[in-house]
Amino acid sequence: MSATHDADPGALLAGQVGRLLAARCDAATLAAIERGEWPGPLWDALEELGLPLALVPEAMGGAGLGWQAAGRVFVALGRHGAPVPMGETMLAAALLAAVGIAPPAGPLSLTANGGERVPWGRHVRHVACCDGETVALCDAAGVTWTPGANLAGEPRDSASPGGVVLRVAPLPERLGGEAAASGLALLRACQMAGALAAALDLAVDYAGTRRQFGRPIGRFQAIQQQLAVFAGEAAAAQVAAERACRAVDRHGLAAAAFEIGCAKIVAGEAAGTGAAIAHQVFGAIGFTAEHPLHHLTRRLWSWREEAGTERYWAARLGREVQALGGAMLWPFLTARDDQDPIP
């Protein structure tokens, strides 16, 4: 971490989260969640850092951090495959607070329309349900959950109809009708950036120690060139995710859909390429249940499918660009970055 980031509250918090997860989020913890166990002590430790209310304004008792700061935390959560709905809780609390509903304590989740599978549904206390016009605070305890899971074994549960709605408030324009979907896409893009960085570190480390033909395999150009491609993809995912967070800080969730879509596409593409290279470098050992690599790669394969695939977002972006027309594409792209408005 460079000196410029030490002063950044997001970097400080992400550093704390990273150290905590490095110490506490081991393979046994990751395996336990796949058996349906809730890692209570890990959740409690993360909660103590004040993460759930990180995005909630100070006036409502939160930390009042911005999305770039939160993004760093999302990346750290992804890097360690943290098996708790902390990102979802941060997002749900932010949405609730934005419509004037005080976020309740404990793990939260969020859903765009209730029909889809809710991340961590059976483990959370409340769900923020966005239907395009309102945010509703729903009691998760009264819901009958049908357990499901993504490829990585993370809970993705279906709710029976008829949960108890505790509060409802209209969605403001700045959040937009797709606030939950956009927020989840941003979270998954950041998590993928983190998981890619971690998988790259593992693969580079392994290439430096695993010996064949009398030398570390990382000495072979064939391996070096593959890992260089991986590094490029990981860096692109990181930059795309940070750009999206910056856009949300500047323009709000609704108006940042373009950058969020870019991040989800680029991170999703990087996930496919990076996971494949990581497994190629590790060989058979990386395919075993015992080796930790799959905790990262199965999450990468899961997260790229969630909150809008590359195809979904690319179709949206592509149609948006076509509506603008080719001559307006360049002015559009540059105006997204310029600080001073183009009349």
């Binding site: 000495r219 391996i223 260089a228 860096a235 795309a240 870019c262 590359e310 360049w330 310029d338």
Partner: protein
């Protein structure tokens, strides 16, 4: 990733107004550009256009005023370059001087060399080419054989450079030549020096080389006992490798490593039958622009982001090459309007150079691997 970070940069203040200014200029000057001109962009050489760009103060923008520069920031320069490339402007006559020869002279040249050349570059009048590659020294540049010997009053240059872009149209070359054998135990790149070569000197033969496109974009330059004056040496005798390497960091990091095929992408937007490949390309492009700007910011701070520059060039070149290929998923090129077909044909043919010029893909990935600690 140890030490590999791309901090986001903000566009410089006033960039929207600067972009509008450049767009108005390009709209006026670009009326007659054919698809082949726009498809080649910085592989196109147009002295009149370069003089017009110079008259607007858009060459040597960051240099001190006393050398004809504009004392503007590297990020403002980045904005102007992006606009030129997005429009497919034929910037080749001033591109090399602005990007690397001028900055090299600023850093290592004598006051006399700077006063003589920098204002002329900034006016768009002095065109430079890069004398690095030789018949037997491409990626393995340290194996070059062109040599310069001290003679009374100067240097005698013998040897051959090849694949030199626009050498037959340029005024000056900055050539890397051996001035002493690498000593026992010294690295192979010891004993190299850089020279300022006036391409009108006697003993220089320049033979344009026809590309597969039919154009003559590069050339072979032969030096047969060329007498260079004493002050042709740039920087320190024997320090040529370090100087040339610094030059390469500038050569690899600019927006021309991302935007070379942008005019083709823009031209395909309306006729694209499938928005998905289009959206994927646009997402990549938006991300790569941020990465390229990030490297420009590092350069502005005086850092030498060699690994980051290599990474952006590698990713950017792959994107540039993907544009003409992915376009074939977007639409049936054979049935496309003529203008688009010609642009596609042009970019398809020049695309192989995107991962060759300025360091091959394999060399770049080797640099990234070294950055990862693998070499």
């Amino acid at each position: 990733m140890p030490g590999l970070r791309f901090d986001l940069r903000d566009a410089p203040p006033g960039s929207a107004a600067l972009r509008r200014e450049v767009r108005a200029f390009l709209a006026e000057h670009g009326r007659g550009w054919t698809p082949e001109v726009r498809g080649r962009s910085w592989m196109g050489f147009d002295r009149a256009f370069s003089r017009a760009v110079g008259a607007r103060g858009w060459i040597g923008m960051t240099w001190p005023r006393r050398y004809g520069g504009g004392e503007r920031s590297a990020l403002e320069r980045h904005v102007v370059l992006e606009e030129m490339l997005a429009a497919g402007a034929p910037v080749g006559a001033h591109w090399i001087g602005d990007r690397q020869s001028g900055p090299l002279l600023l850093r290592y040249g004598t006051e006399a060399q700077r006063m003589r050349l920098l204002p002329a570059i900034a006016r768009g009048e002095a065109a430079f080419c890069i004398g690095l590659s030789e018949p037997d020294a491409g990626s393995d540049l340290a194996g070059l054989r062109t040599r310069a010997e001290r003679v009374p009053g100067g240097w005698r240059l013998n040897g051959r450079k090849v694949w030199t872009s626009f050498a037959h149209l340029c005024d000056w070359m900055i050539a890397l030549a051996r001035t002493a054998p690498a000593g026992e135990g010294e690295p192979r790149h010891a004993g190299l020096s850089q020279f300022l070569v006036d391409l009108r000197l006697s003993g220089i033969a320049i033979r344009p080389i026809r590309e597969l496109t039919g154009e003559e974009g590069f050339a072979e330059v032969t030096f047969d006992n060329v007498l260079l004056p004493e002050d042709a040496l740039i920087g320190r005798e024997g320090a040529g490798w370090a100087q040339a390497t610094a030059e390469l960091a500038l050569e690899r990091s600019g927006p021309e490593r991302v935007l070379s095929s942008y005019p083709l992408l823009a031209a395909a937007v309306e006729v694209a039958a499938d928005p998905v490949p289009l959206g994927r390309l646009v997402a990549r492009l938006a991300t790569l622009r941020a990465m390229s700007l990030s490297v420009a910011g590092m350069l502005e701070e005086g850092r030498t982001p060699a690994v980051e520059a290599a990474l952006v060039k590698d990713l950017g070149g792959a994107f540039e090459q993907a544009v003409p290929e992915r376009l074939r998923d977007l639409l049936d090129v054979a049935d496309a309007p003529e203008e688009l077909r010609r642009l596609h044909a042009c970019v398809t043919q020049v695309a192989p150079t995107f991962s060759l010029r300025g360091g091959t893909r394999e060399i770049l990935r080797g640099i990234i691997a070294r950055g990862l600690g693998l070499r």
